[in-house]
Amino acid sequence: MNARVHLLALAAALAALAIVALYLKRSEVYLLTLWAVYVMATMGLNLTAGYAGQMSLGQAAFFGIGAYLAAILLKLGWPFLAVLPVAALVCFVVGLALGFPALRVQHHYLAFATLGFNVLVYLAMRNEEQITGGTFGISGIPRPTFLGIDLGGHVAYWYWTLGSLVVLGGILWWLLRSPWGRAFAALRDNPIRAESLGVNITAYTLLAFAIGAAFAGVGGVYYASLVEFIEPGPFHFSTSLMMLLAVIVGGSGKFYGPALGTAIVILLPEFLRGSSTPWLKFMQVWYLAVFGIAVVALMIWLPGGLLSIRERLDRKGGPQ
C-alpha cells in the first residue's frame, strides 16, 4: 500500500468512527471510548513487545499508575493537559527503574519481573488506603474541558479520546520511523548481532520498555476520566495478559495490530453479549475458551497475528 492510499484509508476510517458515534447509543459510545483508551496502552505495549521484542506482562500496572495519578491530580483540580505529561513521565521513570533489575537476568525473565511488579502495584493500590482509597477506590473523577468546551458528554469525550489517540499514534509513528525505531527492530530481531554493531541493547531495551509504559500511563489518565471511578480491579495482572494477547492476536510489530486486537478483546465480547442469535449466545459464555484456543491456533499457523495474513500469503506464493 503506498503512502497516499494509506492516508486516505486512515482518514476514511477515522471519519467513520467520528460519524458513527452520532448514531450510536450511549453505552456503545462508551465502549468505543473504552476501546480507544485500551488501544493507547496496547499501542505502547506493541512498541515494547512487538517492535522491540521485550515481553512485558505488567502493562496494566502502568495503566493503573496513570489512572490513579489522574484520579488524584484531577480531583485536586489540576488541568487534564497538565496531568498527561506527569503521568507519562512517572510511568517512564518507573519503567526505567523496573527495567534495571530485570535486565540483569536473561531475556524472558523480564516477563516475570514485570508480572511480579504488576502483582505488587495491585497490592499497593488495594492496601495503601490513604493514597488510593483502597478497595473503595476513588470516585467522582471529573472529565476535562478543552478550550472552554465541556467534554463531559459521552460523544464529546469520545471525540476528545479519538483525537488524542490519533496524536499518540502520530507520535508512535514518528518514533518508529526515526533511527530509534530501527534500533528497536534490530534489538528484537537479533540482539547479539545488534550489540556487535554498536547498538546499546541495554539502553534500547530500557527505552522501549519505558516508552511503552508511558503510553500506558497516558491511557490510564483517559481511563480514569472516562469511567469517573477507579478501584484496583481493572489493573490486576490478568488485564496485562489480555493486553499482551490483544497485541499478539492483532499482529505484534504491526502498526494497527493493537487496534484490531483490542477490538477483538474488548468490543467483540460486548457485541456477543448484546446478541440474541442462539449460536452467538453460546459464544457469550464460551467466548474466552474459543479465544484461548484461537490464540493457540494463531501461534501455530500465524504467529505474526491477524494483520500478518497478507505477508503470509505473499510468502507462500512468493519466491521463497
Binding site: E28, Y30, L31, G137, V227, F229
Partner: protein
C-alpha cells in the same frame, strides 16, 4: 349497567390493552456471573429469574409480562458501568444489581442519571449515603446489622474481647469498620485485627494470629469461599472459641465447602432460606426444584427484589420509573398482601430497608435459626 354495554366495555378495554400486553416490561440484571463475585451474582440472578417466572405465570405485572435479561459484570466495576448504560439504552424499567458494592457504586451513577430505579444486593453502608433517590437495597446495610452482632457478642457470648478477621475488599472493609464501631459502643475490646485477601487460600498465619491473640471469640467477615477456607483452617489448628459471623459465615455455600469445620459457627443473617417462615420455606422448595441447589441470602435478595417491583408497580398503577422510585421511599410491604416479598419489609427515605433478622448456628452441617430478632424500627 346493561350486559351489552359491559360487553362492549370489556372488548374496548381488551383492544386498548392489547398492545400493552404485547409489550413486556424490561428489567435488566447486572450480575456477577464470573470473577470473585460469581457465587453471589449467580444466586442473585437465579432468585430474580425464579420470581420473574412465577410472576409471569401468574399473569405478569399489570397484565404485562416481565422480560428479565441479565448481563455478566465479571465482578468488574467498569463493565458494570457499561452494562448499566446498556440497560438504560435498552429501555429498562428497573435495574437489578450488581451485588458487589464496588460495582454498584459505579453503576448507580448511571441509573441515577437516567432516573431508573436500581435494586442492589450490596451491603456497604456508603451506597445509600450518597443521596441517590433511585437506589434501593434488598438487604440490611452493614450499619444496621453490625450493632445486632455486637449486642449478641456482648450479651449472648459474654465476651470481653474479640478478634476480627476480615477480607480486604469494599464489603469486608466496610463491615470491619462498622463492627469495630459497634463493638466500641458495647464496650467490647477488639483484639487482633486481621486483614485477609479476597481469594486468599492459605489462612494458616491468619488463624495462628487469632489463636495467639487470645480474644474470647473470633468475628469472621469474609466472602463465602474465604469463610469456608478460614473455618477449615480454624478447625485444622484446633481453634476452640466461638466463631461469629454476619450473613456469609453460616451460608449454604460455606457449609457445603467447609463441611464438618462449619459446625458450631454462629452468624446473624438478614435473610436465610432456613428461616422458620412459611413463605420462605415455600421459596426454598421452589428454588431447589428450579436449580438443584439451595439458595443463599443473595438468591432471596434477587427473588424479593423482583416482587418489590411487582408490588410497587401495581400500587402506583403504571410503569413509570420516577413515580416508582418516589413511591418506594417510606413504603411498607406485608406478606399478608404480597406473599412474594417473603417477610414484612419497610423502606426508609434513603432506600434502606428494615425487617426481621435471625441468629443462626451451624449444627450437624445445617444452618439452624436459634433466634428471630425484631426489626430495628420495631423496638
Amino acid at each position: 349497567m346493561k350486559r351489552s354495554t359491559r360487553l362492549i366495555a370489556a372488548i374496548g378495554f381488551a383492544l386498548a390493552a392489547a398492545p400493552v400486553f404485547a409489550q413486556p416490561i424490561k428489567i435488566a440484571g447486572l450480575v456477577e456471573l464470573s470473577g470473585t463475585g460469581a457465587t453471589s451474582g449467580t444466586n442473585f440472578d437465579n432468585g430474580a429469574k425464579l420470581a420473574a417466572k412465577e410472576i409471569n405465570a401468574a399473569g405478569g405485572i399489570l397484565g404485562r409480562q416481565i422480560d428479565y435479561t441479565s448481563g455478566d459484570t465479571q465482578s468488574n466495576p467498569a463493565v458494570s458501568k457499561a452494562l448499566a448504560q446498556k440497560a438504560i439504552d435498552d429501555g429498562a424499567y428497573v435495574v437489578m444489581g450488581p451485588v458487589f458494592s464496588g460495582s454498584i457504586l459505579v453503576s448507580m451513577e448511571e441509573t441515577r442519571r437516567a432516573g431508573v430505579p436500581n435494586f442492589t444486593g450490596g451491603e456497604a453502608a456508603s451506597i445509600t449515603q450518597k443521596g441517590n433517590p433511585y437506589i434501593f437495597r434488598t438487604s440490611f446495610t452493614q450499619a444496621a446489622a453490625m450493632p445486632k452482632v455486637a449486642r449478641y457478642i456482648k450479651n449472648g457470648l459474654k465476651a470481653q474481647s474479640v478478634d476480627i478477621m476480615w477480607v480486604n475488599n469494599d464489603f469486608g472493609k466496610g463491615g470491619r469498620d462498622m463492627i469495630v464501631k459497634a463493638l466500641a459502643a458495647e464496650g467490647v475490646k477488639v483484639g487482633a485485627d486481621i486483614s485477609t485477601d479476597p481469594g486468599q487460600v492459605d489462612f494458616s498465619s491468619a488463624v495462628l494470629k487469632a489463636k495467639q491473640s487470645g480474644g474470647d471469640a473470633l468475628f469472621v467477615y469474609t466472602n463465602e469461599e474465604e469463610s469456608a477456607r478460614a473455618l477449615r483452617e480454624l478447625r485444622k489448628q484446633g481453634y476452640a472459641k466461638p466463631i461469629i459471623g454476619e450473613t456469609t459465615l453460616t451460608g449454604q455455600k460455606v457449609i457445603e465447602l467447609a463441611g464438618e469445620a462449619a459446625n458450631g459457627a454462629i452468624a446473624h443473617v438478614g435473610l436465610t432460606a432456613d428461616a422458620p417462615i412459611d413463605t420462605v420455606r415455600k421459596f426454598d422448595k421452589a428454588f431447589q426444584q428450579a436449580y438443584g441447589t439451595r439458595s443463599d441470602h443473595n438468591g432471596i435478595k434477587g427473588y424479593t427484589a423482583m416482587y418489590f417491583i411487582k408490588v410497587m408497580t401495581e400500587r402506583i398503577g403504571k410503569v413509570d420509573g420516577k413515580a416508582f422510585a418516589a413511591a418506594m421511599h417510606g413504603a411498607k410491604m406485608t406478606v399478608k398482601d404480597n406473599p412474594g416479598v417473603l417477610m414484612d419489609v419497610t423502606f426508609d427515605q434513603h432506600g434502606d430497608l428494615d425487617r426481621e433478622s435471625f441468629l443462626t448456628k451451624v449444627v450437624n452441617g445445617k444452618q439452624v435459626v436459634v433466634e428471630t430478632l425484631p426489626p430495628l424500627g420495631a423496638k
